[in-house]
């Protein structure tokens, strides 16, 4: 399973995270069984200046700053492909 954590803390939510919270529904059918989408209260990255800008998500523990649907899809497709390759 690929872990996708979407931050729904104040800063992320206001800077575009709100739109990401409904991402699960928009995922292609074949990805949905592979990805576990969860919301988290805050990734704590917003308090650090060196980690980039909100909104933040984490994919399998890896932090993605300035997250957009496109960015997440891109990284997800790599992870899905890698997972497929492992099978």
């Amino acid at each position: 399973m690929i872990d996708l954590e979407i931050c729904c803390g104040t800063t992320c939510y206001m800077l575009g995270g709100a739109a990401l919270l409904e991402l699960e529904k928009a995922l292609p059918e074949e990805w949905r069984q592979l990805v576990d989408v969860r919301a988290v209260p805050c990734t704590d990255a917003c308090a650090r200046e060196d980690l980039g800008r909100a909104p933040f998500v984490r994919l399998n523990g890896e932090l993605i700053a300035n997250a957009t649907r496109e960015k997440i899809y891109l990284r997800l497709s790599e992870l899905v492909a890698a997972a497929g390759g492992e099978k």
Partner: protein, 394 residues
């Protein structure tokens, strides 16, 4: 034990066809005093005129009680001020006044013309004990009964206008109306079925039952039922904001473990601190994200309770409480308000560390400072909702 909480609620139903209720109920907790004063008045007739009479009576009575004026003199002033009924030649002002000390449970009940009060300990009635009556030489046909009573934690006091006790008149099975006895039995049954029933639910159920036993279920007279419930306070702790000093995180997080009351955690960083210290997880229901109305969806923390986002949610809650309107509010705000509503004492535990990210000029709206939101909440909860509020800073 903490001082008992006085839950004071009433329910009022206006006579069919009238635009204003001819009964009035007012209560207050005078600032700086552990005292509650409630007044219920039934104005002569119905509609606007009765409403004015009742309102004048409650307003004056409350004022006189607050300033500890002698009761006979106060009643005379009230009766002198009201217009006199052409037919009956009396200035019609019935009232029930309850002056209760929350700390000691001592109460004085002053009644003139309204149905007699009911005191219940659990479902057992403590029979009324009038300790005297007063008659004004100027208004000899108006007598005031005074009862000095002792309330214990768990006691309820029920008082009403005659729209309750005379309900059912006109139906063969209620030849003399519901009467005080009918109301007493009904209230006892309700308490037996639900020993913790709130003053709000009890007063509502009584008022609506009174209406429903009227012929054709019509409201043929104004109905008002008030209930005072002296009970152990229900506490709610709202924890928000990271502590100023990191070394306080442990003590701060420990407060998230409920100790007899309920707990809400508001804020992502706050939730993370508690998760870290207590090793508890947060589960957020993403299904609520679609109907979250501009607020992040609420979640749950194992063994703690509700978890929500901080500043946006609390700001919204303050606005909704100020507007007295939250029916269509987003899930997170509605859940917080629901818990506030069912609590008597609210304790805010506020971490004062400023989140630098909240100062980002790129944020689409200005975020209010946490302390200011808590100040707004503190004020409105005490002033409009009768909650006992305390704030503890970290």
């Amino acid at each position: 034990m903490a001082e008992p909480f006085v839950e004071m609620e009433y329910c009022q139903i206006t006579k069919d066809g009238q635009c204003a209720c001819g009964d009035d109920f007012q209560w207050e907790k005078p600032a700086g005093e552990e005292r509650c004063i409630a007044v219920l008045s039934d104005g002569l007739g119905s509609g606007i005129k009765a409403n004015l009479l009742a309102n004048m009576t409650t307003t004056m009575a409350l004022k006189f009680m607050r300033s500890n004026k002698p009761i006979l003199r106060s009643a005379e002033i009230i009766m002198d001020s009201l217009p006199v009924c052409e037919v009956r030649k009396i200035s019609y002002a019935t009232f029930t006044i309850v002056d209760l000390s929350a700390a000691t449970g001592r109460a004085r009940v002053i009644e003139m013309g309204n149905p007699g009060y009911i005191q219940l300990r659990g479902e057992t009635e403590i029979p009324p004990c009038s300790t005297g009556n007063l008659v004004s030489s100027r208004w000899p046909d108006r007598q005031m009964d005074i009862s000095e009573i002792q309330m214990a934690v768990g006691d309820r006091l029920i008082f009403c206008s005659d729209g309750v006790t005379q309900a059912g008149l006109g139906r063969p099975e209620y030849r003399f109306g519901w009467r005080r006895q009918g109301l007493l039995e009904f209230a006892r049954e309700l308490i037996l079925a639900d020993p913790g029933i709130s003053a709000r639910d009890l007063s509502r159920t009584i008022a609506f039952n009174a209406m429903s036993i009227n012929p054709d279920r019509r409201c043929v007279d104004d109905i008002t039922c008030a209930v005072i419930y002296l009970r152990k306070p229900r506490t709610l702790r709202i924890i928000t904001g990271p502590p100023f000093h990191k070394e306080d995180d442990g003590a701060f997080a420990a407060l998230a473990v409920p100790d007899g009351g309920k707990v809400i955690v508001c804020g992502g960083t706050t939730a993370n601190i508690i998760t870290r210290v207590l090793h508890r997880e947060v589960h957020i229901d993403l299904k609520l994200a679609c109907c979250s109305g501009g607020l992040p969806p609420p979640g749950r923390m194992d063994g703690v309770g509700l978890v929500t986002e901080g500043i946006l949610t609390l700001t919204r809650v303050a606005g909704l409480l100020e507007a007295h309107e939250w029916e269509d509010a987003p899930a997170a705000a509605r859940e917080i308000i629901g818990l506030i509503e069912e609590s008597d004492a609210i304790e805010f535990v506020v971490g004062t560390k400023v989140n630098e990210a909240h100062q980002d000029p790129k944020l689409p709206v200005d975020l209010e400072i946490r302390r200011n939101i808590i100040k707004r909440l503190h004020e409105i909860l005490e002033k409009d909702y009768g909650k006992k509020v305390t704030v503890r800073y970290f």
